[in-house]
Amino acid sequence: MKENPADQPIRERLEPGHISVEGFLGTDNRPIADIVAADTGVVEAEGFTVEQLGDFLEKLHVTGDGGWESRVPMYDGKISVRSDETLGQISCPFACGTSCHKAIITVKDADGEDLLKFTPLDAHLISAHGFFEGLGSAYRIDPNELLALYRLCEGGE
């Protein structure tokens, strides 16, 4: 489908090689607005907001940073987080002026099984732009999976 001309510069920055080698769109050819609308729709249909989910991810990120690349238990041991940081910053592809530190945060359950992997930029993209990355992108966060993790940790129907 054709991109909205106003979103074309954003699309270019989301494509491979501009901000990251692999980009943020994966195999998703839908216009940016459609990707955002589909994912935020899933979240809102469950009675939550993208800001809630983005803030939740940021909380996991900050807690993980405090562990300095060691695993930190959270929510009475229901999950643990670890933030692996590297030097440098990455700017928001939506060109809102935000830049985030480069890190990969991994979330595991009490049995040590992987639950989620995300970057600080993902927390911002979800909270500020409702963007969970395109289908097939290495760092795409499935809204349903994130909602399930949010419910496990924070509760809520």
């Binding site: 990251s20 080698v21 940081e85 590297t86 440098g88 910053q89 700017s91 830049s99």
Partner: protein, 366 residues
Amino acid sequence: MTTFFIAVGSLVAICGVLAVLLVIADRYLNDYGICKLIINKGAREEEVEGGDTLLGSLNSAGLFIPSACGGQGSCGLCKLKVTAGGPPVLPTEEPHLTADEIKDNVRLCCQLKVHEDMELEIPEELFNICEYKGKVESITDLNHDIKLLRIALPAGDEVNIIPGQYMQIETPKYKKTPEPVYRAYSIATDPLDKTHVDLCIRLVPSGICTTYVFEHMKEKQAVTLNGPYGDFFLSDTDKDMIFIAGGSGMAPFLSMLAHIKNEGITRNVTYFFGARAKRDLICLEQMAAFEKVLPNFRFVPCLSEAFPEDNWEGETGLVTDVMKRLCPDLTQMEAYLCGSPGMIDASIAALTANGMPNDAIAYDKF
């Protein structure tokens, strides 16, 4: 039927004319021509092709402005005073500028495009920063995710570094990267070696520059770099020093320790290096060699998640906790930090908790 063909023909003709007009408009309306950059009240003038960013235009004129992110607008280092010319402050600049800076005409020159003559103020010391066309002499694995990149400068070229400074290295177009990008790395070189630049590079998943270094860069290939930049220097006091680093944050301390050795500096130095497991440690042989020749130097590697098979008998736990335990009184000491933002923040908290004043802490927080 004739009417139909005339209608289609007219439509095609109109589309053709519009397409030609668009091409002409693009060629002439977006042609900003040659723009003049008047620097430091006319002390220097450069003529550049309009349309590029101010950072890119200055680079093409041989003036290199510090930019750790390579012009992405994320590091906020490329600030310059623009006293005339240019649009109002852009939304992408605002997060990096204070109210006083905006009032004082400070701009982020990677975001600002040159569309007209501009007047700028550039610190004199930046005039000495050079571009080098070096050659990759070697790429050595320091561990599983950090490489030491050694670049030889061309015969006749020399670089004078102050230990702690950094260089910007160009990643050329490759794979899906549409244009060259620059990234900043601390220099690990002995400052007496003026013909080489050594950089410690840690792989960043999906990182444009580090992926290039790890997967595509070959020995003997040409490489463009510029610098040196930065003000992360050793002070000239006699105070005892603490170094704290993790991962590729080792780089500036290799250069600083070589400088301490070269200059016969006798200040006490305790270097805390944090890693998760033994496989993450780097440069152990160099550290042992420094300990032999520098009687007042002590290297303290700390492992936070050592594997049982590591058989580690050294310090364990977070490097900040180890430092706090071994150095309970920091009131008369100085600290130098290089690492990830989380590490820097945790280190500052630990240092100040043990009495170190904030102004005694120097760091490179990329």
